[in-house]
Symmetry: C2
Subunit: 112 residues, 2 copies
């Protein structure tokens, strides 16, 4: 028998439910965090917050990345719901998704 002298108090005693699943909201939150967890995408996000309406090309000009790469990052941000793009002639006009960004902030404030 080996029992080491733990100085800490255990608060969760019922380990009947082994797995500690995330809620749908937490999952979504994590997904958004992942999207912003890349410097380039954080840059894009900030750029969009300062330049509410701009097209892909504007962002490409400002980042040291190829157009294809920027487009890919924009897709990640879109899939996370942080950004939405509307086709504007031959271009695509991007802007932050206000509702989802607000939700994100709220979640960070409350859930975490």
């Amino acid at each position: 028998m080996y029992t080491f002298n733990r100085k800490i108090t255990i608060m969760n005693t019922n380990h009947t439910t082994k797995v500690y699943d995330l809620t749908v909201d937490e999952e979504r939150l994590s997904h958004m965090m992942k999207a912003l967890g890349h410097p380039a995408r954080m840059q894009i996000f900030r750029y969009l917050s300062e330049n509410p309406q701009c097209i892909t090309g504007d962002i490409v000009e400002v980042l040291p990345l190829a157009q294809a790469t920027v487009s890919q990052h924009l897709k990640v941000l879109r899939d996370a719901g942080l950004v939405c793009g509307t086709i504007e002639g031959p271009a695509t006009c991007y802007c932050l998704d206000g509702d989802n960004v607000a939700w994100f902030k709220r979640q960070v404030g409350s859930v975490l």
Copy 2:
């Protein structure tokens, strides 16, 4: 010459500074987001917020991951500054880093 009829207004005109670097804070913020951008780490984070003092083994019990993997995730959270661990006998006691978590929330509220 080709000029397509853009319906949107351009707000940033001075493209003298081509690169749009992140500030130190934004970089740090992105780093923290990346850490929480993985479901397992989000789970650990929430677990720690509900069980303020617990050792690695407690977390391993609760996640469907090997001990080595959990330890690796804890390192990521530590490196991001979200969590700190203190050696407690043969074990390591983990808890959230209150100051940094508070900073994180503040940043999300203001910067984004």
